[in-house]
């Protein structure tokens, strides 16, 4: 790869982290609203984890991206401020402002879950509900933007597909859900009352069902992404070769993204969820299994960004 990747690890991590954070907040907000939005609604636990976790990866990702800027590397540490002096139709400009907005709204939403912090204006629950309504479109917008940023350029045929934004959105939602599952799994359950454990398993069931459904659609959109690229002619057709068998990134894509990141965790979740879905059996999964599945999904989400960002730069009329 010759060291001529213009966008390297900071961009890969940024796309991944911004997506995961946006996903976690979106999942949290929709769970809150579905559960009725009350202080102790049906999915309160899920909503709380998602709300508190969501903003963190987003902020980390945004900070990381600054290190990729040529101006920073050349020692102009404050030059990036120029990004905030203009608003135009460049996907990067639109995305920057969207991220500024989302960082604020998701942090405010998370704040309403910090019981020990005072609420200065109005009612905590009202704010929480209102912010949930705001954060769902914002979170989806951020997740889609990460795909549009790459997809907007005919010069990079691997990225130049509308399916990419959809794929990134689904991956963001599923890795956001996995982040919530992972965080929950760190809480020990042994000392808890029967009632409490029941509640935890119930929310685990809801999360796993949602995640397996998202993964299912994600597999379909990967298929569409490959199929449309494979069946066309010219630049896009050549570019897709890089992840087809024999391509430079094929192993990483098929083993890392598809098998470890989607198929295995998706099937495992389905295996645990199906008895409940079909026969109303009780859902009980050990927290170590949950940790494993969630980590695989998150790793897969990262590898997807990794493969896509690199594949786009080593293929196409420009290449390296």
């Amino acid at each position: 790869m010759d060291g001529h990747l213009f966008w390297g690890m900071p961009v890969i991590l940024y796309l991944f982290l911004a997506g995961m954070g946006a996903g976690a907040t979106t999942v949290s907000a929709s769970m809150l609203l579905r559960g009725g939005g009350g202080a102790r609604g049906a999915h309160h636990e899920i909503a709380r984890y998602g709300a508190l976790l969501g903003p963190i990866p987003v902020i980390v990702g945004v900070v990381l991206i600054v290190f990729e800027l040529g101006s920073w590397q050349a020692g102009h540490y404050l030059r990036f401020i120029n990004l905030f002096l203009v608003a135009n139709l460049s996907p990067m400009s639109v995305g920057t402002w969207l991220l500024v907005g989302f960082t604020l709204t998701s942090a405010m939403y998370g704040y309403t879950y910090l019981k020990f912090m005072p609420m200065y204006f109005g009612d905590r629950l009202k704010w929480r509900r209102a912010l949930a309504w705001v954060n769902i479109p914002m979170g989806i917008g951020v997740a889609i933007y990460t795909g549009v940023l790459l997809g907007a350029m005919p010069s990079r045929p691997f990225w130049n597909s509308p399916v990419l934004a959809l794929l990134f959105l689904l991956s963001a939602l599923s890795s956001g859900t996995a982040l919530i599952i992972l965080a929950r799994a760190f809480i020990r359950r042994s000392g808890l009352s029967e009632e409490k454990r029941e509640e935890i398993h119930k929310s685990g069931y809801v999360l796993s069902t949602a995640d397996s459904a998202i993964i299912g659609i994600e597999v379909i959109s990967i298929f569409l992404f490959l199929m449309f690229a494979y069946l066309t002619v010219g630049d896009v057709r050549y570019a897709i070769d890089v992840i087809l068998p024999g391509g430079e990134l094929a192993t990483l894509f098929w083993i890392g993204v598809v098998l470890i990141g989607l198929v295995i965790p998706g099937l495992l979740e389905l295996y645990f969820v199906l008895p409940g879905l079909l026969y109303q059996r009780k859902y009980e999964v050990s927290r170590y299994t949950e940790m494993l599945i969630a980590s695989a999904v998150i790793l897969g989400g990262f590898l997807l960004r990794y493969v896509v960002v690199i594949a786009g730069q080593i293929t196409g009329p420009v290449g390296v």
């Binding site: 001529h4 213009f6 966008w7 990729e68 800027l69 040529g70 101006s71 920073w72 590397q73 050349a74 020692g75 102009h76 030059r79 990036f80 120029n82 990004l83 002096l85 203009v86 135009n88 139709l89 460049s90 996907p91 990067m92 400009s93 920057t96 907007a152 350029m153 005919p154 010069s155 990079r156 010219g234 050549y238 786009g312 730069q313 009329p317 420009v318």
Partner: protein, 253 residues
Amino acid sequence: MDERPDKNRLSRRGFLAAGAGATVASGLAATVASGSAEAPSDAAQRKKYAVVIDARRCYGVHACTVACKAEYKVPLGENRSWVEEVEKGNYPDVSRSFLPRLCNHCNKPSCVSVCPTGATWKRDEDGIVVIDKDICIGCKYCVQACPYDMRFVNEDTGTADKCDFCIHRVSQGLQPACVEACPSRARIFGDLNDPDSEVSKLIAKNPLTVLRPEKGTKPNVYYIGADHTDERDPRPDGMYVDVKTNRRYKERR
């Protein structure tokens, strides 16, 4: 005349701000001017710079590459201009040709439409696509978006960099450095808005090609007799094709 990009940028911003008022005013001015035919109207002064490359004349001496490099002290490993070498065919039907490259100063520059800071734009007055290195943050989005690989990040300034048609020379009535250096006059520079310029005449008389027209960028560098063979094109007959871009300088290992 001060041709620093940022100065023009300010005037462009002023123009945009003046908006509708300016349009009305210039409309009036045009009406008056058409009557008297004394003050040349704005449109008449406007230039549209272009380069015609007669690939039949190029014999690959890379003088343009060297002249450009010397003119700008382009950092090691990068180039604003280069000459690609296309070798193809199976003996005895073989050919070897050269493809000189520089920024196309496209009419629809995809580098400009992705820039989030407005640091790069196409100048109204002469069609040159410029970069203001005091505004550019080095996000490399434009580097990704140019379908011709013309842009790079200058490690000294940390900003995007590329050919600027030698703005400092052409604004003084000189030729770009690469054009002047070419011993076989394969690169011809001029104004498309002037029907008597050499480029206009060449364009009127010759069959032309541009690079990757399918990308929709509408380039302003026109080729005569160039071989655009790409290594990636399907070759059912198993023809040998080797394209050396000479885009970047590589250390010998």
